[in-house]
Protein backbone atom coordinates (compact mmCIF):
# COMPACT_ATOMS: atom_id res chain seq x y z
CA UNK A 1 0.00 0.00 0.00
CA UNK A 2 2.80 2.37 0.95
CA UNK A 3 4.69 1.33 -2.15
CA UNK A 4 1.60 1.99 -4.29
CA UNK A 5 1.24 5.44 -2.78
CA UNK A 6 4.88 6.17 -3.43
CA UNK A 7 4.65 4.95 -7.01
CA UNK A 8 1.57 7.08 -7.53
CA UNK A 9 3.34 10.05 -6.09
CA UNK A 10 6.10 9.69 -8.65
CA UNK A 11 3.69 10.53 -11.44
CA UNK A 12 2.27 13.63 -9.73
CA UNK A 13 3.08 17.05 -11.15
CA UNK A 14 5.60 19.17 -9.25
CA UNK A 15 2.86 21.52 -7.96
CA UNK A 16 1.29 18.63 -6.03
CA UNK A 17 4.44 17.63 -4.19
CA UNK A 18 3.13 18.93 -0.80
CA UNK A 19 -0.11 16.97 -1.15
CA UNK A 20 1.78 13.91 -2.25
CA UNK A 21 3.94 14.08 0.87
CA UNK A 22 0.76 14.06 2.95
CA UNK A 23 -0.64 11.18 0.91
CA UNK A 24 2.56 9.23 1.33
CA UNK A 25 2.57 9.86 5.08
CA UNK A 26 -1.05 8.77 5.39
CA UNK A 27 -0.45 5.63 3.34
CA UNK A 28 2.53 4.58 5.44
CA UNK A 29 0.66 5.62 8.58
CA UNK A 30 -2.36 3.50 7.64
CA UNK A 31 -0.12 0.47 7.20
CA UNK A 32 1.51 1.15 10.56
CA UNK A 33 -1.85 1.49 12.33
CA UNK A 34 -3.19 -1.72 10.79
CA UNK A 35 -0.04 -3.60 11.71
CA UNK A 36 -0.09 -2.38 15.30
CA UNK A 37 -3.80 -3.14 15.72
CA UNK A 38 -3.20 -6.71 14.48
CA UNK A 39 -0.66 -7.38 17.22
CA UNK A 40 -3.02 -7.60 20.18
CA UNK A 41 -0.30 -8.79 22.55
CA UNK A 42 1.58 -5.60 21.75
CA UNK A 43 -1.49 -3.57 22.61
CA UNK A 44 -2.48 -5.29 25.82
CA UNK A 45 0.78 -5.84 27.70
CA UNK A 46 2.10 -2.25 27.50
CA UNK A 47 -1.30 -0.99 28.59
CA UNK A 48 -1.93 -3.44 31.40
CA UNK A 49 1.50 -3.59 33.00
CA UNK A 50 1.59 0.09 34.10
CA UNK A 51 -1.94 -0.34 35.44
CA UNK A 52 -0.93 -3.37 37.52
CA UNK A 53 1.93 -1.37 39.00
CA UNK A 54 -0.43 1.55 39.57
CA UNK A 55 -2.91 -0.69 41.39
CA UNK A 56 -0.24 -2.28 43.58
CA UNK A 57 1.92 0.76 44.32
CA UNK A 58 -1.10 3.03 44.69
CA UNK A 59 -2.08 0.98 47.73
CA UNK A 60 1.31 -0.26 48.92
CA UNK A 61 2.77 3.23 49.09
CA UNK A 62 -0.31 4.98 50.46
CA UNK A 63 1.51 5.37 53.80
CA UNK A 64 3.72 7.92 52.02
CA UNK A 65 0.89 10.45 52.26
CA UNK A 66 1.57 10.58 56.01
CA UNK A 67 4.99 12.11 55.38
CA UNK A 68 4.82 15.78 56.41
CA UNK A 69 4.36 18.14 53.40
CA UNK A 70 3.23 15.36 51.06
CA UNK A 71 1.15 17.24 48.46
CA UNK A 72 -2.01 15.11 48.57
CA UNK A 73 -3.78 12.73 50.92
CA UNK A 74 -4.54 10.22 48.17
CA UNK A 75 -1.41 8.50 46.86
CA UNK A 76 -3.21 7.48 43.66
CA UNK A 77 -3.58 11.17 42.76
CA UNK A 78 0.18 11.43 43.02
CA UNK A 79 0.99 8.16 41.26
CA UNK A 80 -1.35 8.42 38.27
CA UNK A 81 1.28 10.32 36.25
CA UNK A 82 3.48 7.22 36.20
CA UNK A 83 1.31 4.96 33.97
CA UNK A 84 1.11 7.74 31.36
CA UNK A 85 4.90 8.06 31.11
CA UNK A 86 5.56 4.35 31.55
CA UNK A 87 3.02 3.54 28.84
CA UNK A 88 4.73 6.06 26.56
CA UNK A 89 8.02 4.24 27.12
CA UNK A 90 6.38 0.99 26.05
CA UNK A 91 5.15 2.78 22.93
CA UNK A 92 8.76 3.58 22.05
CA UNK A 93 9.53 -0.12 21.96
CA UNK A 94 6.48 -0.89 19.81
CA UNK A 95 7.46 1.82 17.34
CA UNK A 96 11.12 0.85 17.33
CA UNK A 97 10.56 -2.87 16.96
CA UNK A 98 8.07 -2.38 14.11
CA UNK A 99 10.50 -0.17 12.20
CA UNK A 100 13.41 -2.51 12.96
CA UNK A 101 11.38 -5.39 11.54
CA UNK A 102 10.93 -3.44 8.32
CA UNK A 103 14.68 -2.95 8.19
CA UNK A 104 15.44 -6.59 8.97
CA UNK A 105 12.98 -7.97 6.43
CA UNK A 106 14.28 -5.67 3.71
CA UNK A 107 10.98 -3.79 3.37
CA UNK A 108 12.76 -0.48 3.90
CA UNK A 109 15.27 -1.35 1.19
CA UNK A 110 12.45 -2.09 -1.23
CA UNK A 111 10.88 1.26 -0.37
CA UNK A 112 14.20 2.87 -1.17
CA UNK A 113 13.58 1.83 -4.80
CA UNK A 114 10.42 3.99 -4.87
CA UNK A 115 10.10 7.78 -4.83
CA UNK A 116 8.69 7.64 -1.29
CA UNK A 117 10.13 10.49 0.74
CA UNK A 118 12.02 9.78 3.94
CA UNK A 119 9.95 12.24 5.98
CA UNK A 120 6.70 10.53 4.95
CA UNK A 121 8.12 7.13 5.81
CA UNK A 122 9.42 8.28 9.15
CA UNK A 123 6.29 10.05 10.39
CA UNK A 124 3.98 7.46 8.82
CA UNK A 125 5.86 4.59 10.47
CA UNK A 126 5.13 6.18 13.84
CA UNK A 127 1.40 6.33 13.08
CA UNK A 128 0.66 3.01 14.78
CA UNK A 129 2.55 4.07 17.87
CA UNK A 130 0.69 7.36 17.90
CA UNK A 131 -2.69 5.58 17.83
CA UNK A 132 -1.47 3.29 20.60
CA UNK A 133 -0.45 6.36 22.59
CA UNK A 134 -3.91 7.88 22.20
CA UNK A 135 -5.68 4.67 23.24
CA UNK A 136 -3.40 4.28 26.26
CA UNK A 137 -3.91 7.88 27.37
CA UNK A 138 -7.71 7.54 27.22
CA UNK A 139 -7.65 4.20 29.07
CA UNK A 140 -5.36 5.54 31.80
CA UNK A 141 -7.54 8.59 32.23
CA UNK A 142 -10.68 6.47 32.53
CA UNK A 143 -8.98 4.14 35.02
CA UNK A 144 -7.81 7.15 37.01
CA UNK A 145 -11.34 8.52 37.23
CA UNK A 146 -12.76 5.07 38.03
CA UNK A 147 -10.31 4.59 40.91
CA UNK A 148 -11.18 7.88 42.56
CA UNK A 149 -8.42 10.10 41.22
CA UNK A 150 -9.58 13.71 41.27
CA UNK A 151 -8.32 16.00 38.51
CA UNK A 152 -8.19 19.38 40.21
CA UNK A 153 -7.80 21.28 36.93
CA UNK A 154 -11.18 19.96 35.76
CA UNK A 155 -12.34 18.88 32.31
CA UNK A 156 -10.00 21.34 30.60
CA UNK A 157 -7.13 19.91 32.60
CA UNK A 158 -8.08 16.38 31.59
CA UNK A 159 -7.98 17.41 27.93
CA UNK A 160 -4.58 19.04 28.36
CA UNK A 161 -3.43 15.90 30.17
CA UNK A 162 -4.49 13.80 27.17
CA UNK A 163 -2.71 16.10 24.72
CA UNK A 164 0.44 16.12 26.83
CA UNK A 165 0.33 12.35 27.22
CA UNK A 166 0.01 11.82 23.46
CA UNK A 167 2.87 14.28 22.85
CA UNK A 168 5.05 12.34 25.30
CA UNK A 169 4.09 9.05 23.62
CA UNK A 170 4.95 10.49 20.20
CA UNK A 171 8.26 11.76 21.58
CA UNK A 172 9.17 8.33 22.92
CA UNK A 173 7.91 6.66 19.72
CA UNK A 174 10.28 8.89 17.75
CA UNK A 175 13.09 7.85 20.06
CA UNK A 176 12.18 4.19 19.42
CA UNK A 177 12.23 4.91 15.69
CA UNK A 178 15.64 6.55 15.97
CA UNK A 179 17.06 3.54 17.83
CA UNK A 180 15.66 1.21 15.19
CA UNK A 181 17.21 3.26 12.39
CA UNK A 182 20.57 3.47 14.16
CA UNK A 183 20.86 -0.18 15.19
CA UNK A 184 18.65 -1.91 12.64
CA UNK A 185 17.47 -4.77 14.85
CA UNK A 186 14.48 -5.25 17.13
CA UNK A 187 16.67 -6.98 19.70
CA UNK A 188 18.83 -3.86 20.04
CA UNK A 189 15.74 -1.68 20.47
CA UNK A 190 14.40 -3.97 23.19
CA UNK A 191 17.80 -4.00 24.85
CA UNK A 192 17.57 -0.24 25.32
CA UNK A 193 14.26 -0.54 27.16
CA UNK A 194 15.76 -1.21 30.61
CA UNK A 195 17.64 2.08 30.26
CA UNK A 196 14.40 3.93 29.67
CA UNK A 197 12.93 2.21 32.69
CA UNK A 198 15.88 3.33 34.75
CA UNK A 199 15.15 6.96 33.90
CA UNK A 200 11.68 6.41 35.34
CA UNK A 201 13.08 4.88 38.53
CA UNK A 202 15.58 7.69 38.98
CA UNK A 203 12.96 10.40 38.85
CA UNK A 204 10.28 11.85 41.09
CA UNK A 205 8.00 8.94 40.20
CA UNK A 206 7.40 7.76 43.78
CA UNK A 207 7.95 10.86 45.91
CA UNK A 208 8.05 14.60 45.22
CA UNK A 209 11.62 15.80 44.68
CA UNK A 210 11.57 17.98 47.81
CA UNK A 211 10.76 14.91 49.91
CA UNK A 212 13.48 12.65 48.52
CA UNK A 213 15.84 12.11 51.44
CA UNK A 214 19.01 10.94 49.66
CA UNK A 215 20.77 14.02 48.29
CA UNK A 216 22.36 12.22 45.33
CA UNK A 217 19.00 10.75 44.33
CA UNK A 218 17.32 14.15 44.53
CA UNK A 219 20.09 15.62 42.35
CA UNK A 220 19.70 12.88 39.76
CA UNK A 221 15.91 13.31 39.78
CA UNK A 222 16.33 17.07 39.33
CA UNK A 223 18.54 16.64 36.25
CA UNK A 224 16.33 13.85 34.87
CA UNK A 225 13.85 15.24 32.30
CA UNK A 226 11.44 12.38 33.07
CA UNK A 227 10.78 14.07 36.43
CA UNK A 228 9.39 17.09 34.59
CA UNK A 229 7.21 14.96 32.31
CA UNK A 230 5.74 13.32 35.41
CA UNK A 231 5.39 16.57 37.33
CA UNK A 232 3.55 18.31 34.49
CA UNK A 233 0.93 15.56 34.36
CA UNK A 234 0.83 15.44 38.16
CA UNK A 235 0.35 19.20 38.40
CA UNK A 236 -2.89 18.97 36.42
CA UNK A 237 -4.16 16.31 38.82
CA UNK A 238 -3.16 17.64 42.22
CA UNK A 239 -2.22 21.32 41.84
CA UNK A 240 -4.47 22.73 39.14
CA UNK A 241 -3.00 25.03 36.49
CA UNK A 242 0.72 25.29 37.19
CA UNK A 243 2.24 27.20 34.27
CA UNK A 244 5.84 26.40 35.13
CA UNK A 245 5.23 22.65 35.43
CA UNK A 246 3.27 22.62 32.17
CA UNK A 247 5.87 24.64 30.26
CA UNK A 248 8.61 22.29 31.47
CA UNK A 249 6.55 19.20 30.66
CA UNK A 250 5.48 20.32 27.20
CA UNK A 251 8.98 21.73 26.62
CA UNK A 252 10.84 18.51 27.40
CA UNK A 253 8.32 16.40 25.46
CA UNK A 254 8.69 18.69 22.43
CA UNK A 255 12.48 18.67 22.66
CA UNK A 256 12.44 14.86 22.84
CA UNK A 257 10.18 14.71 19.79
CA UNK A 258 12.05 17.29 17.69
CA UNK A 259 15.54 16.02 18.50
CA UNK A 260 14.55 12.37 17.92
CA UNK A 261 12.84 13.21 14.64
CA UNK A 262 15.78 15.31 13.45
CA UNK A 263 18.30 12.55 14.15
CA UNK A 264 15.88 9.95 12.76
CA UNK A 265 15.55 11.89 9.53
CA UNK A 266 19.29 11.91 9.09
CA UNK A 267 19.48 8.17 9.91
CA UNK A 268 16.57 7.48 7.55
CA UNK A 269 18.36 9.34 4.76
CA UNK A 270 21.31 7.00 5.15
CA UNK A 271 19.03 3.95 5.24
CA UNK A 272 17.17 5.06 2.12
CA UNK A 273 20.32 5.98 0.22
CA UNK A 274 19.65 4.82 -3.33
CA UNK A 275 22.40 2.29 -3.89
Amino acid sequence: MAVDAAAGAASLPRSRQTASLLEQTLAVGRRSVVRTSRQRALLIFPMVFPLILFAINGSALSAATKIPRFPTDNYRDFLIAVPFVQGAMFVSITAGVDLARDIETGFLNRLAMTPLRGEALLVGQLGGALVLGVIQAVVYLLVALATGVTIVSGVGGALVLLILSVLISFGFASLGGLLALRFGTGEAVQGIFPLLFVTLFLSSSSLPRNLIKADWFREVATYNPVSYLLESIRSLVITGWDAQALILGFGFATVLLVVSLAFSQSAMRSRLARR
Binding site: F45, I52, L53, I56, N57, S59, A60, L61, S62, A63, A64, K66, I67, P68, E187, G191, P194, F197, V198, F201, L202, S205, S206, L207, L211, I212, K213, A214, W216, F217, A221
Partner: protein, 256 residues
Protein backbone atom coordinates in the same frame (compact mmCIF):
# COMPACT_ATOMS: atom_id res chain seq x y z
CA UNK B 1 22.60 -42.09 39.75
CA UNK B 2 25.87 -41.07 38.12
CA UNK B 3 24.02 -40.65 34.83
CA UNK B 4 21.66 -38.22 36.57
CA UNK B 5 24.59 -36.20 37.88
CA UNK B 6 26.36 -36.26 34.52
CA UNK B 7 23.28 -34.78 32.81
CA UNK B 8 22.76 -32.24 35.60
CA UNK B 9 26.41 -31.16 35.49
CA UNK B 10 26.40 -30.79 31.70
CA UNK B 11 23.18 -28.74 31.63
CA UNK B 12 24.32 -26.58 34.56
CA UNK B 13 27.68 -25.91 32.93
CA UNK B 14 26.05 -24.91 29.67
CA UNK B 15 23.51 -22.72 31.48
CA UNK B 16 26.12 -20.79 33.45
CA UNK B 17 28.51 -20.63 30.48
CA UNK B 18 25.81 -19.11 28.28
CA UNK B 19 25.02 -16.58 31.00
CA UNK B 20 28.60 -15.53 31.53
CA UNK B 21 29.60 -15.18 27.87
CA UNK B 22 26.44 -13.38 26.76
CA UNK B 23 26.19 -9.83 28.13
CA UNK B 24 22.60 -9.52 26.84
CA UNK B 25 21.65 -12.30 29.29
CA UNK B 26 24.00 -11.45 32.14
CA UNK B 27 23.62 -7.68 32.36
CA UNK B 28 19.82 -7.40 32.84
CA UNK B 29 19.81 -10.03 35.58
CA UNK B 30 22.39 -7.98 37.52
CA UNK B 31 21.29 -4.48 36.57
CA UNK B 32 17.59 -4.86 37.35
CA UNK B 33 17.98 -5.79 41.04
CA UNK B 34 20.60 -3.07 41.39
CA UNK B 35 18.23 -0.46 40.08
CA UNK B 36 15.45 -1.73 42.30
CA UNK B 37 17.83 -1.33 45.23
CA UNK B 38 18.82 2.18 44.15
CA UNK B 39 15.25 3.26 43.42
CA UNK B 40 13.74 1.80 46.58
CA UNK B 41 16.50 2.32 49.12
CA UNK B 42 17.59 5.67 47.67
CA UNK B 43 14.44 7.21 46.32
CA UNK B 44 12.02 6.03 48.97
CA UNK B 45 14.13 6.31 52.11
CA UNK B 46 11.85 9.11 53.37
CA UNK B 47 9.20 6.40 53.84
CA UNK B 48 11.02 5.45 57.04
CA UNK B 49 9.75 8.78 58.45
CA UNK B 50 6.16 7.54 58.29
CA UNK B 51 4.76 7.31 61.84
CA UNK B 52 5.08 3.80 63.35
CA UNK B 53 7.66 2.67 60.82
CA UNK B 54 10.10 0.74 62.95
CA UNK B 55 13.01 -1.21 61.51
CA UNK B 56 16.17 -0.58 63.53
CA UNK B 57 18.78 -1.33 60.81
CA UNK B 58 17.26 1.37 58.58
CA UNK B 59 15.46 1.64 55.26
CA UNK B 60 18.37 0.46 53.06
CA UNK B 61 18.49 -2.80 55.04
CA UNK B 62 14.69 -3.04 54.92
CA UNK B 63 14.74 -2.79 51.12
CA UNK B 64 17.85 -4.93 50.71
CA UNK B 65 16.02 -8.01 51.97
CA UNK B 66 13.28 -7.53 49.39
CA UNK B 67 15.73 -6.95 46.54
CA UNK B 68 17.88 -9.89 47.68
CA UNK B 69 14.91 -12.27 47.65
CA UNK B 70 13.56 -10.74 44.46
CA UNK B 71 16.89 -11.27 42.71
CA UNK B 72 16.79 -14.89 43.90
CA UNK B 73 13.33 -15.37 42.43
CA UNK B 74 14.29 -13.65 39.19
CA UNK B 75 17.43 -15.76 38.91
CA UNK B 76 14.98 -18.64 38.52
CA UNK B 77 12.72 -16.70 36.17
CA UNK B 78 15.56 -15.72 33.84
CA UNK B 79 16.67 -19.35 33.71
CA UNK B 80 13.11 -20.20 32.67
CA UNK B 81 13.51 -17.81 29.72
CA UNK B 82 16.67 -19.70 28.73
CA UNK B 83 14.82 -23.05 28.91
CA UNK B 84 12.03 -21.68 26.71
CA UNK B 85 14.65 -20.41 24.27
CA UNK B 86 16.25 -23.87 24.21
CA UNK B 87 12.91 -25.35 23.21
CA UNK B 88 12.35 -22.70 20.54
CA UNK B 89 15.78 -23.27 19.04
CA UNK B 90 15.36 -27.06 19.02
CA UNK B 91 18.27 -27.57 21.42
CA UNK B 92 16.05 -28.99 24.16
CA UNK B 93 14.75 -31.69 21.84
CA UNK B 94 18.30 -32.79 21.03
CA UNK B 95 19.16 -32.61 24.72
CA UNK B 96 16.27 -34.91 25.63
CA UNK B 97 17.30 -37.38 22.96
CA UNK B 98 20.81 -37.57 24.30
CA UNK B 99 20.18 -37.41 28.07
CA UNK B 100 20.12 -40.89 29.68
CA UNK B 101 18.34 -39.53 32.81
CA UNK B 102 16.07 -36.67 31.82
CA UNK B 103 15.26 -35.58 35.34
CA UNK B 104 18.89 -34.49 35.43
CA UNK B 105 17.92 -31.75 32.97
CA UNK B 106 15.71 -30.08 35.57
CA UNK B 107 18.42 -30.43 38.21
CA UNK B 108 20.97 -28.97 35.79
CA UNK B 109 18.87 -25.93 35.04
CA UNK B 110 18.22 -25.49 38.79
CA UNK B 111 21.95 -25.59 39.56
CA UNK B 112 22.52 -23.11 36.71
CA UNK B 113 19.91 -20.78 38.22
CA UNK B 114 21.54 -21.03 41.63
CA UNK B 115 25.00 -20.22 40.30
CA UNK B 116 23.59 -17.40 38.27
CA UNK B 117 21.90 -15.95 41.36
CA UNK B 118 25.08 -16.43 43.40
CA UNK B 119 26.65 -13.81 41.15
CA UNK B 120 23.67 -11.42 41.25
CA UNK B 121 23.15 -11.84 45.00
CA UNK B 122 26.81 -11.07 45.65
CA UNK B 123 26.70 -7.91 43.53
CA UNK B 124 23.48 -6.72 45.20
CA UNK B 125 24.90 -7.38 48.69
CA UNK B 126 28.11 -5.49 47.94
CA UNK B 127 26.10 -2.58 46.50
CA UNK B 128 23.88 -2.47 49.59
CA UNK B 129 26.90 -2.51 51.92
CA UNK B 130 28.45 0.34 49.93
CA UNK B 131 25.13 2.20 50.21
CA UNK B 132 25.36 1.98 53.99
CA UNK B 133 23.26 -1.07 54.83
CA UNK B 134 23.35 -1.96 58.52
CA UNK B 135 23.54 -5.63 59.46
CA UNK B 136 22.42 -6.45 62.99
CA UNK B 137 22.01 -10.20 62.53
CA UNK B 138 24.59 -12.77 63.63
CA UNK B 139 26.51 -14.97 61.18
CA UNK B 140 24.07 -17.85 61.65
CA UNK B 141 21.12 -15.51 61.10
CA UNK B 142 22.72 -14.26 57.89
CA UNK B 143 23.13 -17.87 56.78
CA UNK B 144 19.42 -18.19 57.45
CA UNK B 145 18.76 -15.26 55.12
CA UNK B 146 20.99 -16.86 52.50
CA UNK B 147 19.05 -20.10 52.94
CA UNK B 148 15.78 -18.26 52.32
CA UNK B 149 17.27 -16.84 49.12
CA UNK B 150 18.43 -20.26 47.92
CA UNK B 151 15.03 -21.78 48.64
CA UNK B 152 13.28 -18.88 46.87
CA UNK B 153 15.57 -19.36 43.87
CA UNK B 154 14.76 -23.09 43.73
CA UNK B 155 11.00 -22.56 43.96
CA UNK B 156 11.13 -19.94 41.19
CA UNK B 157 13.30 -21.99 38.85
CA UNK B 158 11.10 -25.06 39.28
CA UNK B 159 8.03 -22.94 38.46
CA UNK B 160 9.79 -21.42 35.44
CA UNK B 161 11.04 -24.82 34.33
CA UNK B 162 7.55 -26.27 34.50
CA UNK B 163 5.95 -23.46 32.49
CA UNK B 164 8.76 -23.44 29.92
CA UNK B 165 8.54 -27.21 29.46
CA UNK B 166 4.77 -27.23 29.20
CA UNK B 167 4.62 -24.40 26.66
CA UNK B 168 7.98 -24.90 24.92
CA UNK B 169 8.11 -21.43 23.38
CA UNK B 170 9.83 -18.16 24.20
CA UNK B 171 6.40 -16.55 24.33
CA UNK B 172 5.98 -18.30 27.67
CA UNK B 173 8.18 -15.55 29.10
CA UNK B 174 5.31 -13.35 30.25
CA UNK B 175 3.57 -16.28 31.93
CA UNK B 176 6.77 -17.26 33.72
CA UNK B 177 7.51 -13.75 34.89
CA UNK B 178 4.20 -12.10 35.68
CA UNK B 179 2.93 -14.33 38.53
CA UNK B 180 6.32 -14.13 40.26
CA UNK B 181 6.45 -10.38 39.81
CA UNK B 182 2.91 -9.85 41.06
CA UNK B 183 3.36 -12.21 44.02
CA UNK B 184 6.52 -10.39 45.07
CA UNK B 185 4.96 -6.95 44.81
CA UNK B 186 1.84 -8.00 46.66
CA UNK B 187 4.01 -8.51 49.72
CA UNK B 188 4.87 -5.59 52.04
CA UNK B 189 7.62 -4.18 49.81
CA UNK B 190 7.83 -0.56 50.96
CA UNK B 191 6.52 -0.59 54.52
CA UNK B 192 5.87 -3.27 57.17
CA UNK B 193 2.54 -5.06 56.82
CA UNK B 194 1.15 -3.19 59.83
CA UNK B 195 1.32 0.07 57.86
CA UNK B 196 -0.45 -1.28 54.80
CA UNK B 197 -4.08 -0.27 54.41
CA UNK B 198 -7.04 -1.47 52.38
CA UNK B 199 -7.04 -4.41 49.97
CA UNK B 200 -3.26 -4.60 49.76
CA UNK B 201 -3.12 -5.33 53.50
CA UNK B 202 -5.57 -8.23 53.17
CA UNK B 203 -3.78 -9.64 50.13
CA UNK B 204 -0.33 -9.24 51.72
CA UNK B 205 -1.54 -11.05 54.83
CA UNK B 206 -2.52 -14.08 52.72
CA UNK B 207 0.52 -13.90 50.43
CA UNK B 208 3.10 -16.54 51.41
CA UNK B 209 5.92 -14.26 50.19
CA UNK B 210 5.07 -11.94 53.10
CA UNK B 211 6.17 -14.57 55.62
CA UNK B 212 9.46 -15.12 53.77
CA UNK B 213 10.07 -11.37 53.56
CA UNK B 214 9.30 -10.81 57.23
CA UNK B 215 11.55 -13.72 58.20
CA UNK B 216 14.37 -12.32 56.05
CA UNK B 217 14.01 -8.83 57.53
CA UNK B 218 13.92 -10.27 61.03
CA UNK B 219 17.12 -12.24 60.41
CA UNK B 220 18.96 -9.20 59.05
CA UNK B 221 17.78 -7.14 62.02
CA UNK B 222 18.94 -9.80 64.50
CA UNK B 223 15.43 -10.42 65.79
CA UNK B 224 14.15 -13.48 63.92
CA UNK B 225 10.42 -13.94 63.33
CA UNK B 226 8.51 -16.65 61.47
CA UNK B 227 11.75 -18.29 60.23
CA UNK B 228 10.54 -21.88 60.63
CA UNK B 229 7.23 -20.98 59.00
CA UNK B 230 9.02 -19.35 56.05
CA UNK B 231 11.27 -22.36 55.47
CA UNK B 232 8.32 -24.74 55.81
CA UNK B 233 6.33 -22.70 53.29
CA UNK B 234 9.23 -22.68 50.84
CA UNK B 235 9.71 -26.43 51.31
CA UNK B 236 6.05 -27.10 50.49
CA UNK B 237 6.19 -24.69 47.54
CA UNK B 238 9.38 -26.41 46.36
CA UNK B 239 7.73 -29.82 46.51
CA UNK B 240 4.71 -28.57 44.53
CA UNK B 241 6.83 -26.78 41.96
CA UNK B 242 9.17 -29.76 41.69
CA UNK B 243 6.19 -31.95 40.80
CA UNK B 244 5.00 -29.29 38.37
CA UNK B 245 8.43 -29.18 36.69
CA UNK B 246 8.51 -33.00 36.47
CA UNK B 247 5.05 -32.97 34.83
CA UNK B 248 6.32 -30.30 32.44
CA UNK B 249 9.23 -32.54 31.52
CA UNK B 250 6.85 -35.44 30.97
CA UNK B 251 4.73 -33.23 28.73
CA UNK B 252 7.83 -32.23 26.73
CA UNK B 253 8.86 -35.90 26.45
CA UNK B 254 5.41 -36.79 25.20
CA UNK B 255 5.49 -34.00 22.62
CA UNK B 256 8.75 -35.49 21.31
Amino acid sequence: MSRFFNVARGVAWRSIHNTLVNPAILVPSIVFPLFFLIAFAGGLSRISDVPNFHYPPGYTSFQFVFVFLQSAAFGGVFTGFAIARDFDSGFARRLMLSAPRRSGIIAGYAIGALLRWALTGTVVTIAALIAGMNVYGSASQLFGLLGLGIAMNMVAVLWACGVAMFLRTEQAGALIQMPVFVLLFLAPVYVPITLLEGWIHDVARLNPVTTVLEAGRGLLAGSPVKVALAFAGLLVAGAIMGTFARLGLASAEKAG
